[in-house]
């Protein structure tokens, strides 16, 4: 059978003024431990294709996982183009500028399900050794995917992404209610143990067994790397070029302005070797490069794809991401927050009375467009005299991230990869803790 991607492009290019095919295919393997037992082994094979066309001055799009009839995909794209937006860009041709980003480590494919089972068992044994009452769950997986972008301007880019990922979740139901800690990691190269994230989860479980009394008060709070996302999420949303163009971003028209404390620098970087969201190009075929979004507290750039950049009269930042089933849209690759000067342990030791926020519940459900967050702190610790006193329960933490990140007390020198985010801990002052009563 002829290569389906080329076949679709050929047919579409003959019929329309321009065409782009995005083909994503690959396989994943995963091993699931649930509640202290090995539950399931899974193998997935996937293949999907998206077709974007320019027809009579309009953009059309369609996608399918059913490659029995490529002609139907072309028909659907044609129908879509009858109504579509006017394109404000040209499809990029072949480029000399693709950065040399390693994204493929064939050894990921050599990690056998048996080996993954072994890793999970090791984690399970650690958990049982810590407490028979703990319920341990873990999902360990590998993924090999081939991404291919072809267009009628002559671009034909293909690269392989490998990834290995693991999650660990430990929980206990006891007198103090439910205590649940999760940790995860993901990387483009294989790892041979989950003991690091298991150990971290077990350590937090140990600390969480003591409950500290909570009362409503305003205090400094340290957000661990796992919780820093709560502070970043509204800012990332406002940096999205789409919200900027629509006027719904509070950062629209503010390039060059100081928006947060000077210790905050946020980068979007798809060129880090083997990082989860690294790639030589975005999914429109535009070369990637490290992009400073916020530098020293100052707003530097939004993230843009070709169409949004065209509408704003700007250049794309190479941030047009998508799955095969969606049109490209401005998005982030690896989000990197610059490390600070402070040792994490010193930050904790320096808290006279404050809170460490580690896990939250309900993020993204408040008015994040305006920079608001409001979450239940599902795992948080009260600190007095620099020492952890115990876990705070049934409390909410809320605030405006632009205000809070202007009151930064410290940024840790240690950073942690969490999925595609590379983050330090941040201490901010003057946040309201709301407790029952």
């Amino acid at each position: 059978m002829a290569d389906p991607a080329e076949q679709i492009l050929e047919e579409a290019a003959r019929r329309f003024d321009g065409a782009e095919v995005y083909l994503s295919s690959g396989e994943t393997r995963s091993v699931d431990f649930e509640n202290n037992r090995l539950k399931r082994l899974t193998a997935r094979q996937f293949r999907g294709v998206g077709l974007r066309v320019f027809a009579q001055g309009r953009i059309g799009f369609a996608s399918t996982t059913d490659l029995r009839d490529p002609g139907r995909l072309v028909e659907m794209a044609a129908e879509s183009a009858r109504f579509g937006e006017e394109p404000r860009f040209d499809l990029p041709g072949p480029s000399e500028q693709f950065p040399d980003v390693p994204t493929e480590e064939p050894a990921v494919g050599d990690v056998s399900p048996g080996k993954m089972v072994e890793m999970g068992r090791e984690g399970l044994e650690m958990s049982i050794a810590a407490s028979q009452e703990y319920l341990f769950s873990s999902d360990i997986s590998t993924r090999l995917a081939t991404e291919r972008i072809l267009n009628s301007s002559g671009l034909d880019l293909q690269y392989v992404k490998t990834d290995m990922a693991a999650t660990v979740e430990v929980k206990e139901i006891g007198g103090g209610g439910l205590l649940e800690v999760y940790e995860f990691k993901s990387w483009g190269r294989p790892f041979d143990s989950i003991s690091d994230i298991t150990r971290r989860a077990l350590k937090a479980m140990e600390k969480g067994r003591v409950i500290a009394p909570a009362r409503s008060e305003v205090m400094p709070m340290i957000f661990t790397p796992k919780a820093v996302g709560n502070l970043l999420e509204p800012i990332l949303l406002a940096l999205n070029g789409k919200h900027v163009y629509k006027g719904s971003s509070v950062l629209a028209g503010r390039i060059g302005e100081r928006i947060v404390d000077e210790r905050i620098t946020i980068l979007d970087d798809a060129t880090i070797p083997y990082a989860p969201d690294s790639a030589p190009a975005d999914s429109e075929g535009v070369p990637t490069r490290p992009l400073a979004l916020v530098q020293g507290g100052e707003l530097k750039s939004y993230v843009l794809d070709l169409q949004t950049a065209g509408l704003l009269g700007l250049e794309t930042t190479g941030s047009g991401y998508r799955s095969y089933a969606s049109r490209p849209s401005p998005s982030f690759s690896n989000t990197v927050l610059k490390a600070g000067p402070d040792a994490y342990d010193d930050m904790v030791a320096g808290l006279e009375r404050g809170v460490i926020v580690d896990q939250t519940l309900g993020s993204g459900q408040s008015n994040i467009l305006a920079g608001e967050f409001s979450v239940n702190v599902s795992l948080a610790f009260l600190v007095e005299g620099g020492k952890i006193q115990g876990r705070l329960k049934d409390c909410m933490v809320a605030g405006n991230v632009y205000e809070l990140l202007s009151k930064v007390e410290g940024v840790s020198c240690e950073r942690q990869w969490l999925g595609s985010d590379y983050l330090p801990a941040i201490c901010v002052s003057g946040i309201k803790l709301a407790a029952q009563g």
Binding site: G362, S374, Q436
Partner: protein, 481 residues
């Protein structure tokens, strides 16, 4: 962790207009799937094939950002052997035998202590939803025109900076066969629409939305002019609302928010997969345990035709049913798949659901609601000296102990009357305690589906319905300022 998504989520994936072609192949599909189930030497084998298509129309501001159709086709095989599950998924159906063999090898590797499945009579059946107006009979041009007119209404107010109008319809054809001889063909058609208005005043950005969506067909999305007006006004009014002061309040929730509350505060806890391998939780979740006052009754009902959570059979081939979860304040039931039912020596309830062929079925809700009480909304309000009236939902989440849910709009209640408008109202509570804090229940039950859906174990969004009447909850912590 499980959550209920509001406006940010996407519509159910998958789904089909190619039913004509598939129908013709019907005989062969049946034989092929049943043959594969018989050919794999295991304790239990099931094969699912999902075919589908969906149509989208997405306006964002003045731009028509997405319009058109997507199609999908895929299958999966699940094998149970000696206490281990193997699961494989694929898009290329010609390789089904290969993936059945792989699923068996996976199951052998996973093997451990025995797993039993609760017995179910082999089923043979077909279901096809028949909406009054089938979205397939409406042209793409008409769908676009409808969305355009709603979008124009939203943008007519100059204080509305931008808008979203999102239309989705989808058809999902699901073929199911297992080694016990069950063979099912089901077709579901979903149709829904969401409108969002975003009002901006300097750094003050406020958003309001309305969403509709279930299996009733294209009629769902017609005549939403009043919704557009309401959304527009609400977004603009929120610009002048004050953030709520953090604290503990008595809260009257409207039917939509009551639905999210029931879903998060109790629904997920009643999913037996959270309980069956957790000895402590089994002790807490003993049938007969009191969770609330006598007027508190909660059901999950998959048989409500047309509602967003309707299923004829679940994705293990078990017929849907109505399952009382709490009756007169007391725990009486829970939601099962065949494995959890066997382990807990209870009956399967038809709640094993998968969002697509790429996932195994897990225990999920269908349509979950609080039964009506006797009070009118006015009576509830008059009886509340000081509190909050919280309306509409942005979303909710639970970790099986704590839960949060957020209101779209809220008012202070003073002396039994609605007072000033408030914003940033995110509520939290404890699943084991909060149901007991419901101290008054209204009589006006409504169920809501909408775009979006429920997420659990990476499977999101699943179409579900939830609802209830107006009701009042005491001691709710709100994390305002």
């Amino acid at each position: 962790m499980s959550d209920r998504r509001g406006p940010s989520a996407v519509a159910p994936s998958c789904i089909a207009r190619r039913s004509v072609e598939t129908r013709r192949e019907e005989g062969t599909v049946r034989e092929k799937l049943l043959n594969i189930c018989q050919s794999v030497p295991a304790d239990f084998v099931e094969v699912r094939v999902h075919e589908g298509s969906s149509t989208s129309v997405d306006y964002a501001g003045k731009e028509l950002e997405d319009i058109g159709e997507r199609t999908g086709l895929g299958g999966c095989v699940r094998v149970l052997k000696d206490g281990g599950w193997g699961f494989t998924t694929f898009n290329d159906l010609s390789e089904m035998e290969k993936f059945a063999g792989l699923a068996l090898r996976q199951a052998e590797l996973a093997g451990g202590e025995a797993i039993a499945l609760a017995p179910v009579e082999p089923q043979t059946g077909a279901y096809r939803s028949s909406p009054e107006i089938d979205p397939a009979d409406v042209s793409l041009s008409d769908k676009q025109q409808l969305c355009h007119s709603y979008n124009q209404m939203l943008l007519a107010d100059r204080r509305v900076r931008t808008s979203v109008v999102r239309y989705r319809d989808s058809v999902s054809i699901r073929f199911y066969a297992n080694s016990e001889g069950t063979y099912l063909e089901q077709q579901y058609g979903f149709c829904g629409l969401m409108v969002v208005a975003i009002a901006v005043d300097g750094a003050n950005v406020q958003r309001a939305y309305e969403s509709t969506g279930d299996l009733r067909g294209y009629g769902n999305v017609l005549g939403m002019e009043e919704d557009c007006d309401r959304v527009k006004k609400r977004a603009v009014d929120l610009l002048d609302a004050e953030p709520i002061e953090a604290g503990t309040y008595s809260v009257i929730v409207d039917p939509k928010l009551c639905g999210v509350f029931v879903h998060e505060a109790f629904g997920h806890l009643s999913e037996a997969d959270h309980v069956y391998e957790n000895p402590r939780l089994r002790e807490i979740m003993q049938p007969g345990r009191r969770f609330g006052e006598d007027f508190l009754s909660i059901n999950d009902d998959g048989t409500l035709v047309g509602e967003a959570g309707f299923v004829a059979y679940d994705d293990e081939g078990v017929p849907a049913q109505c399952t009382p979860l709490i009756k007169d304040g007391v725990l009486v039931g829970r939601l099962h798949n065949r494995e959890t039912a066997a382990k807990m020596h209870e009956e399967p309830t038809g709640n094993a659901r998968a969002i697509s062929h790429t996932f195994p079925p897990i225990v999920r809700m269908t349509n979950t609601y609080l039964e009506p009480g006797e009070l009118s909304f006015e009576e509830l309000l008059q009886d509340t000296e000081d509190g909050i009236y919280a309306i509409g939902m942005l979303g909710g989440q639970t970790d099986m102990e704590m839960f949060t849910f957020s209101a779209e709009e809220a008012y202070r209640i003073r002396g039994g009357k609605l007072a000033e408008k408030l914003r940033e109202v995110v509520l939290t509570g404890n699943v084991f305690k909060t149901l007991a804090d419901i101290d008054a229940v209204g009589r006006d039950v409504k169920l809501h589906g909408g775009l979006g859906g429920c997420g659990k174990a990476g499977q999101s969004p699943l179409r579900v319905g939830d609802g209830g009447p107006h009701c009042r909850i005491r001691n709710v912590v709100i994390g305002g300022r």
